[in-house]
Symmetry: C2
Subunit: 327 residues, 2 copies
């Protein structure tokens, strides 16, 4: 069956789609009440709220799909604030002509990823537009952050260590090779990272700043943090993890892995004395095996790359198109 | 200037768009921190979460636009749960070719409506897809509901009164005549209704159920509530407010105002003894002037319309397309 305009009418057909597809996969006591809004348990800590839309093309790629991505993106944004992700909304814009089997695969993947991350999908929405069988998803999420926790873009201090939780550019490379129909062994790094962050917090590691290294890549994210904190960042080129495949692909296509997007990597900035212990914990987690101490926070402004030969150059944020519809 | 793919790269151009447009209009201390997620003050009551995507066409219409609609829709969903709407996210999917002036008008309208509703936009996202200058918005929202409040789709009781806060079909009629390029004096009823609901709660009115009467119209919403509560609803045809313009338009086009969508009308279900006082309060509010006691809850199932001539017929939910992209 294909999606038609009537599935977005808000009437009987929308109801059936919700019941037979979204409710079936996302079922939980809050969602099943089917109210205008999800009434959540009272929280002791600070609620943290975030939202992202996903327009990735193709819908399915090695290592993930738009559904998995839509859960990971929002879970990781909440985790970057030190919040425990709890409840998500899922809103769909469906294009006419979309096969309901395709939609079901996406929804099933969302449900599986939500299970892994330990979050519930408690509310949603479905709209239909005329199109060619495409699909866009928005997820918003709410997490709970312990009182007193002060993880923030502006909290990093001079002398802090900069840790990267893994290799740069895998998601970008995967989407790019898929779109060019290139043979490739690349897999998207798309993953929910709340467990990784919680493993640090549980061990009492002090963290100043966390940022999910998505669109725009390491260079862009580092620049945003430097600006937000009024400090400078130095990154050591040799210590930035990049896989052999991404190195080769970048060489061939003239890309820079440092402006390529990821969907399962974070920059974690913490006091230098915490760095060794944090690295050990991260490397012990399936999503942090290649974690690396790759830089430090200094006085000044901007981001500088210390090259393999000891040179120093300014690292600029992504400019121009990058790779459209990467997430 | 027109939106191009580079505005969605997550790099420099996305940053500039956020800074010069979204931050400028939505500015508030939480948003201005520009973190991955918005850390909110601790709440004493229950957080209530909801989300809606908006794909209305045309973007601008008499009485509103996609921006105003996107705020009202989420504010009204939260209000329908008896929650006080507090914080919203705003996520944009922009099509290439969209004029930034058009986007600015939409964003300015969102800011104005958010101000009216007393909510802050605290997080957001921007994606760009290839297209013809269109624009989709998702808003998610969080409200706070007092502990002990039990407004719910399933809470209505036999004997309860059914109040409609105003005329049916205005938004639907407005979008339809705009799309057909018909001359019309119709105006969308698009409005944030949190003030209306709060005026009832403030006066201590007991409310069992509230539902925003949007896509699918009164017939669909009434059917959903009857099903959720395991009760029946009787609506008196003569007491359902419908404007002269909508009556005429429906006559000409063979439409039923009871399956036409609204964006500023609610169904409020409460104990019969509360009805007179509630009506007086509603009629005293700018968005409730034409509030009407239009039905009651009975034993049984489904929704029945008591016609002007005393007949009784089953009222069925919207079936088929309705009006695509109405919101």
């Amino acid at each position: 069956m294909k999606i038609e305009l009537r599935h977005g009418s808000g009437g009987e057909e929308t109801g059936r789609l919700i019941h037979e597809l979204f409710e079936k996969y996302f079922t939980n006591p809050i969602l099943d009440r089917m109210e205008d809004g999800a009434v959540l348990p009272v929280m002791k800590g600070h609620p943290v709220l975030t939202s992202d839309s996903f327009v990735v093309e193709p819908l399915f790629f090695s290592g993930g799909d738009i559904g998995k991505l839509s859960i990971c993106g929002t879970v990781n944004d909440l985790s970057s604030m030190g919040a425990r992700p709890l409840y998500l909304t899922a809103s769909f814009i469906l294009e006419t002509g979309l096969e309901t089997e395709t939609l079901e695969k996406v929804v099933s993947s969302m449900a599986e990823t939500a299970r892994e991350a330990g979050v519930s999908i408690v509310a949603g929405d479905t709209k239909v537009i005329e199109g060619k069988g495409g699909l866009y998803i928005n997820t918003a999420g709410i997490g709970e952050r312990a009182k007193g926790l002060a993880i923030s873009a502006s909290a990093m201090e001079e002398g802090d260590a900069v840790i990267l939780t893994g290799t740069m550019g895998d998601h970008h490379g995967t989407i790019l090779t898929a779109r060019l129909h290139m043979k490739s062994s690349l897999r998207s790094d798309c993953a929910p990272l709340n467990g990784l962050v919680e493993s640090l917090l549980k061990e009492g590691i002090t963290i100043h700043t966390i940022r999910d290294i998505t669109r725009g890549g390491l260079a862009t994210v580092a620049g945003e943090l430097a600006e937000a904190s009024g400090k400078a960042m130095e990154l050591m080129e040799d210590e930035i993890p990049v896989s052999e495949e991404i190195r080769e692909l970048s060489g061939i296509l003239g890309l820079d892995p440092l402006t390529m997007g990821n969907e399962g990597k974070m920059m974690i900035i913490l006091p230098e004395k915490e760095a060794d212990r944090a690295l050990a914990i991260l490397r012990n987690h399936p999503y942090g095996r290649q974690a690396s101490l790759a830089g430090r926070i200094t006085k000044g402004e901007g981001v500088h790359l210390i090259t393999a030969y000891g040179g120093k150059r300014k690292l600029l944020p992504l400019r121009g198109e990058g790779l459209p519809r990467i997430c």
